[in-house]
Amino acid sequence: MNEKERMSALQGIMATSFDRRSALKTAAAAGLIPVLTTGTLAARAAAQDATPKQGGTLVILGQDSIESLSPEDTGETVQWVPTANIFEGLYMVNEVYELEPVLADSYEPSEDGLVYTFKLKTGVTFHNGDPFTSADVIYTYNWIMDEANASTRLSNFDLVETVEAPDDTTIVVTLKEADVTFMINVATVFIYPATYHAEIGENDFKVAPVGTGPFKFGEMNPQQRVRLDAWENYYRGRANLDSFQMDVVPEAAGRMAALETGQADNSMWGLNAEDNLKLKDSGNFTIFETQQVATNHFPLNNTHPFLQEKEVRQALLWALDRQSFADDVFLGQATVATSNLSPAVAAFYNPDVPLYEFNPEKSKELLEGAGWVEGSDGIREKDGVKAAFTMMVFQGDTQRRPEAEVAQQWWKDIGVDCQLQEGITSEILGGLRAGEYDAGLFNWVYGGSNGDPDSRDTLVTGGANNFFQYSNAEVDDLMNNGIKELDPVKRADMYKRIQAIIAEEVPFLFLLNLMTTAFYNKRVKGLPETVLVTDNVYPKAYQYWIDEEA
């Protein structure tokens, strides 16, 4: 293997990792976010397979090293999964996007939506024996809000004014302004044990974590595995499993082999599309198929001399046969996108938008109408500006690159010249943020994380992840006020309006909403029956059990 082959093989691996990371906040919707009373889901799961057995190890595969088990470092799913079994928040968003109480028993928002009062559970202890009280919640929230700690979760607390504890079992959070995403962004934050964390500090805590969750830290070799062991004194009862283990297998073929041989029970990171089909056919797995909230898209620079016109962007979209991308590139494991939100976000999804079904004639009409006429070289132009732009593709992104190559041909047919150029992931993302590139190709979430449609950082003027230099006063207004609207019906209307505007203005070429497929070996019992987001199946691992005879 020469140096060039070696590099391209390695880049292939990196590109695959990014794929999932960008689609990492897969979510679906429960716009109104119903609040469950504890136990409902446990009952639902238990009804499914006979009597739980005690013992065994659940083996999950990850694709990247597990460097830290601190709630600070859950940006990568591979670190979030074990962390979510060690720690708990006051509430959690479960696998069907319901808000479920964990360390809290209940919460009560004030009339104006500015004050939230939580009643905490009693009789909960941390893995080191310390009792859990409101002091731990105060410590955690204040630690994150202290700028000196440069917490990765600081942005979640943007709208928090004060956190107070009138007594050991009550927490009162006051917001600067009403924000309906508060419960998802803040109340789900994992709680530190105040005394222990203050004593050993965040750095040491990352490799010696202590939480209230069903599993306690066992062993850890970042490049190889993390093993968590059932915690005997868990307040909801000891887990059925003896251990929860995550093995690091960077190579997709290796994960596939481990699933086929039964050495692992599940892979939290995706497999190759053709391997998915093979495992589905085998009949040896419990399968959860969910729709991602991430959108597969071509972001466009809305300030580019050619791309700045709405008619041009619409014409580019009419010229694409997106169904064939779904069928040929993703082997049917995707659906055509309609706007910024995925149909998975059901309560906020707006299907009544123009659908842009493949129609090159319509494209030509639009371009003609906008004054773009064909030059001698077959490429359209207007006032000396060529109908041409350059699209950046991630180096080694063999999976998505065909989309760009085929689109290039289709656009050539309507007189538009698109050149492809490869670049490093972070550089392309940075360049698009800064408006230095014309276009790109990757997946990103434009609302829908944890079932909430808020996406202020991407679609609002000047947003940190506004890859399109897009600016629309009405969208800004709807997005910024959407988080303050307490009436769920009115709120849904606001986000539906946003989708209508995005579908009309096409700031980016929304291509597909991809599916995620999760496979569990049939020996794993007690799994939930309905799953809307596969990652959120893991925090319930304490309910699952292993049936070796299955």
């Binding site: 082959e5 990765t152 942005s155 979640n156 750095n203 190889q224 290796g254």
Partner: protein, 308 residues
Amino acid sequence: MLSYLIKRLLQGGLVLFLVTFFTFTVMFFMPGDPARTMVGQARVTEEQLELIREKWHLNDGFFERYWSWISNLLTGDLGTSMMRPGQPISDMIGNAAGFTIRLTSMSMLISLMVAIPIGVLAATRRNSPLDYFSTLGSTLGVAIPNYWIGIMAIVLFSVKLGWLPPYGADSWKAYILPVLVLSIEEMAAIMRLIRGTTIEILGQDYVKTAQAKGLHRNVVLTRHVVRNSMLPVITLIGYRMAFILSGTIVIETVFSWPGIGQLFFDAISNKDLQVVQAIVLLLTCIVVIMNILTDMMYAVIDPRVRVR
């Protein structure tokens, strides 16, 4: 001899400096923002990112960061990691090194054990089926990327036959596939060399003389031929060390082997400058020392080298 050694060591020191400085420069200017990687896709403002960058000294200038690295190094401190915050890098490398040393030394040993006898036999029996077989095998071994061989081996031996685990480093069974796959390229390279030199030596006058004296064929082979054909092999081993180590990056990724190669790959992906520097320093040291040792061995085996 001593002055020769000192000269070589000084040269080695210069190589170390140049290689680490060059890597540092490349890593420093490599695009990518570790602060963004740390927050994932969370909604975050530029000010909040700036806080994270300040905390991890990501905003310090080129010379400032290089100086802090080199001054720590001179006091024997490799520094602490950013991707595993606060962890001493020496611990991380120590942890991973055992896995890589076992992997590389075993595959080097196996390569030699297989390649030397086959290479010599192929040379003495030219144009025999064994010769054709070894030539074909060594050509394929060099030509086929070990990345591909690795994946095929997993599919065959783990999935189809179920004999060996598809990943991990827990049992002796887990060593078989990575060690063998890593050996293939070495085996092929060594075999070709041995065959070539042996053929050359067989044509030498002193071999003909020995044969003419009526010495037994095996005695001629072991005393005269094999001993002399070992010379280039020793050079090759020193030289192949660099290839073996870069091969481990790929093999360790394919087989999820928790060694230096995977650590190196992770450190580059996370743009963890300190860890990358430490590993490059270590690998360069190994290659430099192997080269010096090779030259020394040469002098021991072949007295003519000493004269220079």
